[in-house]
Symmetry: D2
Subunit: 219 residues, 4 copies
């Protein structure tokens, strides 16, 4: 097995100066993970926290990297756990503007698209692997209705309609400690988050037996 994985992280939004997803994803850039069944080659992409454009940037990254697996990562401020998302829903409903000032309300992401897409990640196995490694984790049933759910739905729509050999999904991560030094909110250290993403990636690769190995371009 030789698996290529594209991991994406959002740029900071909502007044934050860092995004733990981007910080974690940067640590994964260019790395290779060794597993019992082969190597996993990682490449990464920073995604603008912008409705619409985020999915364009994602598709371009998929075209360039030709990955077997795509895992998009975003911040779920306030959650205690690493939460692989189960389902993406076809609606944008923004409580705050995105980084370009857009604030869609109750708008379909894909006109005529299905109400929801299921993740194609083995989310239960990921949670088991994370807990076994001492990392708080649970499956989430909502990715919200902001840009995180937007890119998750956009990703699954792309995989469903154009890139049917690629597996993908979305993982939410908590705040970093430095984001909440004086706030009553949960957080997780960057080291744990990076370790959690490595485990999520490895677990996905090992349990996605029908992955089609992409030939070609380095990612």
């Amino acid at each position: 097995m030789h698996t290529r994985v594209l991991v994406t992280g959002f740029e900071p939004f909502g007044g934050e100066t860092v995004n733990p997803a981007l910080e974690a994803v940067k640590r994964l850039e260019g790395r290779t993970l060794e597993t019992s069944e082969g190597r996993i080659q990682l490449c990464t992409k920073a995604i603008p926290t912008v409705f619409g454009r985020s999915v364009e940037v994602l598709e371009k990254a998929i075209e360039e990297a030709r990955p077997d697996v795509v895992i998009c990562v975003g911040q779920a401020g306030g959650r205690h756990h690493i939460t692989p998302e189960r389902v993406a829903i076809n609606v944008d409903d923004a409580r705050i503007p995105d980084n370009e000032g857009q604030q869609p309300v109750d708008t379909p992401i894909v006109a005529g698209g299905p109400a929801a897409y299921w993740t194609a990640l083995p989310v239960k196995r990921i949670v088991q692997s994370l807990q076994a490694a001492g990392i708080p984790a649970s499956v989430s049933n909502t990715a919200g209705t902001y840009v995180c759910n937007h890119i998750f739905y956009g990703l699954m729509h792309l995989l469903s309609t154009k890139y049917q050999t690629i597996r993908g999904g979305f993982v939410h991560i908590p705040f970093l400690p430095e984001q909440v030094v004086d706030k009553e909110a949960s957080s997780m250290s960057l080291e744990k988050i990076v370790q959690a993403l490595e485990i999520a990636i490895t677990t996905t690769a090992l349990h996605t037996t029908d992955l089609v190995i992409a030939a070609g371009t380095e990612c």
Copy 2:
């Protein structure tokens, strides 16, 4: 400046198999911290989670180590922050039994003792230093009424009545991630907790100018 600091941590209780306080304190055993104004020599002691006996073990450790500073550390499961405690109150009121089955209710810790003792740690400065290092922290106004408050009050009573040259206090720390892998509760990595205790110790040593340097026995 050469400062000797005794750091104590409780043994696991309440059905937990680890106590983050003890785990963190073990990492500090025998270490030396270098500061701009001199060295800090650390020694540590595991304390039984038992009313009464915990203070006896603490006093014995003080007698042996002859420290300048004593910092007792305990777990405050559910808190997001490192919380130096401001005040110890003269009451035991246990919701669950201690590790020897004792469960005192509304009992004075020291008959005839004052209702409360203030910490002698620079708790505001410790919080500032922790936040500056990216670690969530705040001053707490209650150490509860279980063994943590018990040893805190017992410590301050000892320092007030027998060891008046020693400074001391209590710091509560969150759960470790591995304690809450499937619970909806906040946690902090062991690395962060150890770093936080180092900062608390260093800040105390640097802002306790009237510490009397103990001569003699190695700690």
Copy 3:
């Protein structure tokens, strides 16, 4: 306008001896709400907290009552708010057994059904009306994967396939105070919950202009 509304509530589950949904729904039985645009006639039904059978009981109640609107109500223990649900997903995934011992894991509710159904309640308007009345409320994006989501999905599937003139959806409510007298959990008084359901019902009736008025049997 004369609108007939069927409101359902679940029987207690998970070790609880009451279910706030059932308690609230009982208070609505047989009542008539007067609005600026006509009368709303309420009928109610207790639903077993059981996968499968809950939807059978619901369908029988729909057959009997021939309502214009169906609102299913369930307890979301721990939530602060009245939360009308936005979307039902096609999966049963039970953390605890239901009242007949069934505990399905990652099982479709309707084999071959769509991944999700949107509510047909005006959830944003309901939230606005509730907040205007001083009642904490927000739209929820997940009804979970237990019997609440099960009946919600089952309801929307029935309305989509067999009862296309009926509008419906699901509303989650908090614990009652008496359920959490010694627990650290949020609650809402029964009076507020009943008032909230009245508002949700009235708001739905007033903003569902294309309701087809059912003739016939008393509800």
Copy 4:
């Protein structure tokens, strides 16, 4: 038994337009509670949320009402429970300014006063009575370091030094629902809060056998 009880509530602060304590206390003004052992006559006083002046207003009210019992009531936003306070500590440490712009930091309330005063209310019995009535309740070990703790300490100091026949203490109450209609925070209905205060008052009167009955002025 004929008992006279003075109940106080704070004016709104911190940007809130209502204070649940004041709203609840208004409902008690002039009322008489009948118990198995006699009548309880209630009088009330609105207290400015101001360091220093709050205690002056309180003392004037005590002078006028000549009560047997004084219960001060304040809002503890975010708490789920009615929380009778166990202990008042001798420090003002304000995170936000009071209603006259004062923001003391680490300042003694009474110079030379004891570090803490215990409540003179039967707080455990009050909690039991509340829970038996279906109202979430627990004893709190900290009234904070803002104006609530300030008046609590000030009250206990007055009772200790000048009014030794009067019993008193402090009870914290949650937000009202209308304060948190769009916030993720716990609340309790005004009806429940008023009922809780009645229970706290009655329980105190019935378990304070050595109350000296004040003769004289109507309260």
